[in-house]
Symmetry: C2
Subunit: 364 residues, 2 copies
């Protein structure tokens, strides 16, 4: 008994990161979520995970693997059918709300990971944790592979509909800060999604946003069409959540359709079947690069006061482990401080431009 106590003390001293995980969010919960958390626990010896959800079901999966794992019993579940803000308000015993309460109350908990309903996670992030000063709309920035060696993020990808130019400016600043941390790349190339590369093209929102991005301290490469999204020529694609979602989901659907056409065509011929066997590694490569169930982490809600990482509903254990990795990285690299500084900088610049305009107006 004494030895056990000592061990616990030693562990407590060593814990550098505490992350809370919604064990019952997503299509493959709780198994894949819990196993993903355990992968992260094995990798990071200074990490403690708090798993929120039905205690007995979690214990069944853990099978005694409890080192640096704490269970917070929360028998209820928020589903995709629940109205997000209602769920956050009233489902107090759900795994997601309990996880948010822990993130909110405990200063030593650095972040939250969930594969639950996007709307509910966003509502929880805003209602329980709050926004970074100056940012009115936090945004999701999922990662996709490109035709070259680099990846691309899109911000916003569906959480924020009918945005204003200032929201898109904030998305650009947050996306750029996020990309530069996860890919260790200074001044990532930021583009504005439009229906043509020319400055004169675009809807009203794009036309009003373009000059703001030009003035901002960003590596703004101009307006780009959807076909540039995966070309490798853009690092951060900025868009209102509606066309952003169309672009993101459209690429997912296209990749799926191509694979499906490919499979059908392979099955239709003897030699192509042999060929496909020889190319097995190639197909595995492709799958790893483009599959949402690959090794990619989820996306943080950029602009939220604490780190909240949202995984795709169909994600598996590797994604959850990657999201936990990412939470630690973003914490160490001070993502939120960087965002706050960048937003302050942009705001003062905008203010200066406005004042300059007023002065010119006075003279005229």
């Amino acid at each position: 008994m004494k030895k056990d106590n000592k061990k616990t003390d030693k562990q407590t001293q060593e814990i550098k990161y505490r992350i809370v995980v919604d064990a019952f969010g997503g299509d493959n919960a709780p198994l894949e979520i819990v196993e993903g958390a355990l992968l992260a626990i094995n990798k990071h010896k200074d990490l403690e995970i708090i798993l929120c959800g039905d205690e007995n079901k979690i214990k069944d999966i853990l099978k005694g693997r409890v080192e640096r794992v704490i269970i917070e019993h929360a028998p209820d579940v928020v589903s995709n059918c629940d109205q997000p803000t209602e769920a956050i308000r009233h489902k107090k015993d759900s795994s997601l709300v309990r996880a948010f309460d822990i993130l909110k109350e405990r200063e030593d908990v650095i972040g939250l990971v969930s594969a639950g309903s996007t709307g509910a996670v966003l509502a929880g992030a805003i209602m329980k944790i709050g926004r970074i000063k100056g940012i009115s709309r936090p945004a999701l920035a999922p990662i996709l592979p490109t035709a070259k060696d680099s990846d691309v993020v899109i911000i916003d990808s569906g959480a924020n509909i009918d945005c204003k130019p200032i929201n898109l400016l904030h998305f650009a600043v947050m996306g750029s800060a996020y990309y530069s941390i996860i890919y260790k790349k200074e001044n990532p190339r930021v583009a504005l999604l439009s229906n043509g590369a020319e400055e004169s093209k675009g809807n009203e929102l794009v036309k009003e946003t373009h000059p703001l991005l030009k003035e901002a301290p960003l590596n703004f490469v101009g307006n780009r069409e959807g076909n540039d999204f995966m070309s490798g020529d853009v690092d951060v694609m900025v868009a209102d959540g509606f066309p952003g979602n169309a672009l993101l989901k459209g690429t997912e659907g296209a990749v799926k359709a191509v694979v499906s056409i490919l499979k059908g065509s392979i099955k239709a011929g003897f030699w192509s079947k042999i060929g496909a066997l020889l190319m097995k590694r190639v197909f595995k490569d492709i799958k790893n690069r483009v599959d949402v169930q690959g090794k990619h982490a989820g996306s943080p809600f950029l602009g939220c006061k604490k780190l909240v990482v949202k995984n795709h509903g169909v994600c598996k254990r590797l994604n959850i482990a990657a999201s936990i990795d990412q939470t630690i990285l973003l914490y160490n690299e001070k993502l939120n401080q960087k965002i706050e500084e960048a937003i302050n900088h942009v705001s003062s610049k905008l203010k200066a431009i406005e004042e300059e305009k007023l002065k010119v107006g006075d003279k005229a």
Copy 2:
């Protein structure tokens, strides 16, 4: 000599269709355009083509193949850099404007085919030819393959930005009429592009458009996300031109990226190279199905008083020939009459609903 005259007379009697072609629009003009026209001439013995453009250059390509081909000399060219309405107004000697003038002036010319600047072709269609009564915004509806055996059209794909609900209703009606003719399918499945399948999702425009589509005499299957675009579960995807363009170009870019990743991965291994050789037919299949340079026709400007078919700038001779085929089909199947009838029907229905609402208002 006498024999020749007789032959010409006989031909003139036999001509059922006259189509005017902008021989100098597109990246591969004039060679691919002229060769495409000749393919169509060989296929349809009752077709006459009027080729607009530099006479000597066209003659060089024709090399004496002049049966049922008429050249209309127009030495100037409208480029992508020209401001569309300016070009239509002032470049009177350009191949495109001359083609529009012929389409406008000659009742016996049933349609126009061009691979030139989208903006200029749209401007020409509206300024020279005009809109079908009741339709304020003609739209482009390009065709894409799906994971199943069917194709899908998207309307609008980029010509109409910042639309109103009534425009999207018209797009749905026109897209449905168009699809049912080219695929001989009654009641094609019409979906509204949104950021979630639920009726509650969408931006303001989608929320206002959804009930209109529900009431319209269409096979409306509800809101769909971008990943359903190429799934084969939708025939006509309706969208504002901005997200529509993001979706269309995003799928193009994704297909290109997958092929590029595939190629890179194949090159990296000996066995995969052998496998790829065995799968040559499969790759050709895919290319034929998804490539814009395949056999697909261009898209007509739906809602224009006469048939104006716009090809992709990079199109080749097979596309031009397919567009001419399509023009004949749409003419025979009376596309424009069908659109006009459908729009009238929808308008009276909308009016009746409005009146009903007013009555209810009176009673309240």
